[in-house]
């Protein structure tokens, strides 16, 4: 009985743990790491919609993250508009830009889409380095606001509020993903990933559905960008538009398991602490060693779990079910026999 309920119990325990985490571990480094894990879960899930479900691998998602960060910051710095509204503004800008990028590049098959997104990402990095009114290469600082009010989206006394906001964003992003997975949209995206021509022969407008996936994905990444800007109170082309950021979004989803709801979250939960801890414990000793170790761990996961960590979990579940079936089989057969005998 209890064993069957194990997954539900684990989920309840996880939710409770996440809710009380800042109280249990108020230590700044731990809280910061956890905030990053949640932020990267959001980014991984956002990337997963177009890169995982629809199978269009993008290495340019930093564009949307960066646009989200810059839009809300520029609105705040120039007109004093609340970052919450800025978040929606950033999402809107990302939707428009992603549609403009997506429309022509969706015609490119396979690897060429990935290459086009890398190029687009570089264009935005260069563009923002040269935009004087957006701070150029130096970037923009956000004004410090005292008082830790929710409207200001800025919390300098205690970082716990950031934690709860990003946790809420993760829940919202997970719900969007869940909705996609459970409706026609999810099925259509998977069909497009598996075979676009077969999908077209079944009446699916492939370009339109890729576009839907792209704009939803971009909007979510942009909202995460606004959060990041409010969290570090500084945006610059180097911190929000680099290729490395785009790659990391893909990595989180790929290592966790693409095209699944839990995959990117698991990916972030493994990858981000790994990155943070190798950085903290190794960077001071030998320059760059943390990146080597981090890279090595990624290589190991890719070699031994090419389906992502979700595949590991699924195999384990599968084996457990097989074992249960094997145990159950000899029991049910005689039970049926006894039933016949009693009639």
């Amino acid at each position: 009985m209890l064993r069957n309920r194990l997954p539900q119990l684990a989920l309840v325990a996880l939710v409770l743990f996440l809710l009380v985490f800042p109280t249990l571990f108020p230590e700044p480094f731990l809280l910061r790491t956890m905030i990053l894990v949640l932020l990267w879960s959001v980014l991984g899930l956002a990337w997963n919609i177009i890169g995982g479900y629809a199978g269009q691998v993008s290495f340019g998602h930093a564009i949307f993250f960066g646009l989200g960060a810059y839009t809300s910051t520029l609105l705040l710095n120039n007109w004093g508009i609340s970052p919450w509204l800025g978040m929606l503004g950033g999402a809107l800008v990302a939707v428009i830009v992603s549609a403009i990028i997506g429309w022509p590049s969706f015609r490119l098959a396979g690897h060429y889409f990935a290459i086009a997104t890398i190029a687009a990402g570089e264009i935005f990095a260069v563009l923002f380095r040269n935009l004087k009114w957006a701070g150029g290469a130096v970037g923009l600082y956000l004004p410090i606001v005292r008082g830790d009010r929710l409207v200001d989206f800025q919390f300098n006394e205690s970082k716990a509020m950031y934690y709860y906001i990003v946790l809420g964003m993760l829940v919202a992003t997970a719900l969007v993903t869940y909705w996609i997975e459970r409706t026609r949209m999810g099925y259509y995206l998977k069909a497009i990933r598996e075979d676009p021509d077969a999908a077209r022969s079944l009446g699916i407008n492939v370009t339109r559905y890729k576009l839907y996936a792209m704009v939803i994905s971009a909007a979510l990444a942009a909202m995460a960008g606004t959060f990041y800007a409010q969290f570090v109170l500084y945006v610059s082309p180097k911190t929000v538009f680099p290729l490395a950021l785009s790659i990391q979004m893909a990595l989180v989803a790929i290592l966790g398991g693409t095209g699944t709801l839990a995959g990117p979250i698991i990916g972030a939960a493994v990858l981000i602490p790994m990155a943070e801890y190798t950085r903290v414990y190794l960077a001071g000793r030998v320059g760059g060693l943390h990146l080597v170790v981090y890279g090595l761990l990624i290589v190991l996961i890719s070699i031994y779990q090419p389906g992502g960590l979700m595949a590991l979990l699924r195999n384990w579940q599968h084996r457990r079910r097989q074992r249960k079936l094997a145990q159950a089989a000899p029991v049910t057969a005689p039970a049926g026999g006894m039933g016949d005998g009693s009639v």
Partner: protein, 242 residues
């Protein structure tokens, strides 16, 4: 008025004409066999009329509507479904999910699409394999799944591209039974087929292509006796056998 009409359809690749001035029609409710030797242009013809290739010249009409050059998804939405010569099942999805993806066209909600898909799986004899991964099916299973998926879009006209190729005799028998059942349900069928034994008794009419051109269009009995067809395609062996 015919259900489906092709007039002067030509498709060239560079200097090569894969289809040359093809004119034919398909009547409501019939099974039309499309045969021809390898390279006759049968698959090119399918790709042109289902929107995968834009024709170089000519027109395609379906239910009194000009559909020339429409993209595949629009052709399917209009009521023309197809299968592929080289199977294109969605390997990483289950059999049921594959068919649901077809069913979503007319049934946008998941429970409705599932109900429709289950009914189609029942009809095509795949119901007991609904939870299998599509990639694990045999070639016969995959061909049947493609047929089921196409049927789930509720077509008026169905194009089958070598649905029987590579199947063993008992599998062919089962597939023929399915095709007959579809005709009884009022679906019009155009089938490209290499297996003569299948197409001769099944088709109401046969169109023969050779070098991209229509060389015969007649009932099966007369096709078997047509000199040009025998010369182009059937050869001595078939004449001896019949």
């Amino acid at each position: 008025m015919a259900l489906f009409e092709v007039h002067g359809l030509t498709k060239t690749f560079g200097g090569l004409a894969a289809n040359r001035d093809i004119t034919m029609r398909v009547e409501q409710g019939e099974i039309l066999g499309l045969i021809g030797p390898n390279g006759a242009g049968k698959t090119t013809f399918f790709n042109c009329v289902t929107g995968f290739y834009p024709p170089s010249a000519g027109s395609v009409r379906f239910q009194d509507q000009e559909i020339t050059g429409w993209p595949p998804e629009r052709v399917c939405q209009a009521g023309i479904a197809r299968t592929f010569q080289i199977v294109r099942v969605l390997g990483d999805l289950t059999v049921l999910e594959n068919v649901m993806i077809g069913a979503f066209l007319r049934h946008p909600r998941v429970p409705d699409a599932r109900r429709k898909a289950l009914a189609v799986l029942e009809l095509t004899g795949l119901a007991d394999r609904q939870d299998q991964m599509a990639r694990n099916l045999t070639i016969a299973g995959k061909k049947r799944l493609e047929l089921a998926r196409a049927l789930a879009t509720e077509p008026t006209l169905l194009f089958l591209d070598e649905a029987m190729a590579g199947l063993n005799p008992s599998e062919i028998h089962a597939a023929v039974a399915i095709v007959r059942r579809l005709q009884e349900q009022g679906i019009t069928i155009v089938m490209v087929e290499h297996v003569m034994k299948v197409v001769m008794p099944l088709a109401d009419r046969i169109v023969v292509l050779d070098s991209g051109q229509v060389i015969a269009d007649d009932v099966p009995e007369r096709i078997a006796a047509n000199e040009r067809v025998i010369e182009a395609y059937l050869g001595e062996k078939y004449r001896a056998a019949s």
